[in-house]
Symmetry: C2
Subunit: 362 residues, 2 copies
């Protein structure tokens, strides 16, 4: 009972790879021979340097980042990035294009507007409750940047292919699909991601920033609100969230050494998503909510014939050790988040349960 | 060897109580019967609500906070607070009084100035390398607030008694002595503290804010940079640093239930500090660097007769399982940080080692 585990379909904080959790547990009282817990070691020690440098190196390798990019570990989640982006990259007279694909894009736009910055909503899928990713968007050639949300955790949609902006740097919130698939990072000025979905626990936010963006950061911002501060000090200007960074490092190690790299991770994610969507599409009982060509590989949103059945489904699933299947409180329905750490067995167990539930209630 | 532990005198991240670390380790794969790690549970689950609400309740109880105060968990450490304070509480035309007692006060002042805010340095101990806490300071009666650093980690000084500001709210960085001693919170408008010294791991910053300060927060700040956002949502506006908050909760539980409360904690801290300072004062070999009436109970800074001996001292101490005794890189010398979790036995072991080192090298 003590180490009883369930399949965790939570949208974030979310499942972590069991071998990673076991490694943390095993070394929790004595990290790397220091005689201290990872929660006690100095962030200015060789032992922690090794953690953060290894994490940075693995991200560079996994995403094929060239020398123009810096990998940063920040705090405050994507929500703080929503404010930092306009503060750092939108000077007076500049305008940015934002694509609105759901709750998080909407918040990103709002934070820029609160700051009095000039924002153009280049496209939106609000007309159909964000069930799709807009196509054929025309971006302003002089946009300071184009902001997108690569995967929409709440609505269950994902950009299948990143847009050609005609040169403007892409700025992407990848909180819910970072390192879940291969993509070409070279067109991105900034990629940011709260770690608590695909790559770690809550409390650290990854930021990957290109040198031309760093050059735009104004001097008159407080130290903690400037990307340059983090870039200049390898994210060690002040005490970073050491435990969260350590966990990310172990997840990255697992991704490279156990899973076998990003292509294998993507194949596994694709297989999990196809298993689940395939079953839903073949069922007359469950119904996917996102347009097929906009579906997320990470967050599978679906409805049952009634809200009463949805409630029953979520409760009975939990009794069967399948947790976190309730949809976001703002949209209802059901959602299975199947990030990198979710094993194939979890998705198979879910499909088996869904079949059985349909048989009994269909 | 696997669970070999040393006495950890690091200034932060710092030692945590061993029973707390063991409880985390023991429950790491299955938190509170959820079948998930604390790093995997939703911040919007009843299990996590219990964690954060218990942490808040314990802080309220330990510090005797009345209903005017809100207890918040934020990110970005004290360094982010340096910026948030002037952004939230210094309107155009307002001025704040800052007392400069060392590196962190200096940074707090600088961040306010970067924002173009009006700051008066009411007093400074820079003339003698911050070896003391200034006395007889005159505060401006119309100051928006008076900012102090209650304990100076780097210089080893501490306010023995908090100043009477004549009504202006005190704003205090208590990162390195929060919950180490009893004090009257009623005169404080804001108390903030990075957790990684006395009460937890890195990655979470405690903020205790009074309602009159919340009333001053302007509307035109981004959500994550306004104290009101955190106050309105019990620190759950966005995903908080769950693991760090959980660890803080366990440290607070240890403080109340194992140590026996704040008065007992203070007595233990006083005894540890007196043991160490008493030995230093009786020695002709070691020399304390802070003025006696300004000495910190948390960070004991001292020098040896030469830098070569200091280097040897730090290295040999570590060989004897006494870690983290090097002074801050900006000041040199030695420093023993003896926060709440450092047991008396650690200080006694240090004194024994110091005696032996003096005997061999004196």
């Amino acid at each position: 009972m003590k180490d009883h585990r369930i399949f965790n379909f939570n949208p974030g904080p979310a499942a972590l790879p069991l071998p990673v959790l076991e490694e943390i547990q095993d070394n929790f009282l004595n990290f790397a021979g220091t005689g201290m817990s990872i929660t006690e070691v100095s962030h200015r020690s060789p032992a922690f340097d090794e953690v953060i440098n290894d994490a940075v190196a693995r991200i560079r390798r996994l995403l094929d980042l060239d020398d123009r990019f810096k990998v940063l570990f920040m705090q405050g989640g994507a929500s703080l990035q929503f404010a930092l982006i306009p503060m750092n990259f939108l000077a007076a007279g500049d305008t940015a294009d934002y694509v609105n694909t759901g709750t998080w894009s909407t918040k990103a736009i709002k934070e820029a507007q609160v700051l009095g910055k000039s924002v153009r909503v280049a496209a939106s899928s609000e007309d159909r409750d964000f069930a799709y990713i807009p196509k054929g968007i025309e971006y302003r050639p002089d946009a300071a940047f184009v902001h997108i949300t690569s995967n929409n955790t709440i609505k269950g949609t994902q950009w299948a292919k990143f847009p050609d902006t005609g040169g403007a740097p892409l700025v992407a919130d990848m909180s819910s699909d970072i390192l879940s698939r291969r993509f070409d990072a070279s067109g991105f000025g900034l990629i940011y991601a709260g770690a608590q979905k695909n790559i770690g626990p809550a409390g650290v936010c990854l930021a990957i920033i290109r040198d031309d963006m760093l050059a735009k950061v104004p001097d008159d911002l407080p130290s903690m609100l400037k990307y340059t501060t983090y870039a200049a000090k390898n994210s060690l200007y002040n005490t970073p969230p050491c435990f969260a960074i350590y966990t990310v490092q172990l997840v990255l190690k697992w991704l490279e050494e156990t899973v076998g790299g990003l292509d294998k991770m993507e194949a596994a994610n694709r297989e999990k998503a196809e298993t689940l969507y395939g079953f839903i599409d073949g069922s007359g009982f469950y119904r996917g909510t996102a347009d097929v060509d906009s579906r997320s590989m990470m967050n599978v949103t679906f409805r049952l014939p009634s809200e009463a059945l949805e409630k029953k489904f979520v409760a009975e699933a939990l009794e069967n050790d399948l947790g976190g299947l309730k949809g976001h409180r703002s949209v209802g329905g059901c959602r299975a988040s199947i990030y990198n750490p979710m094993p194939k067995e979890g998705v198979e167990a879910l499909v088996d349960f869904m079949k059985e539930f349909e048989r009994k209630n269909g």
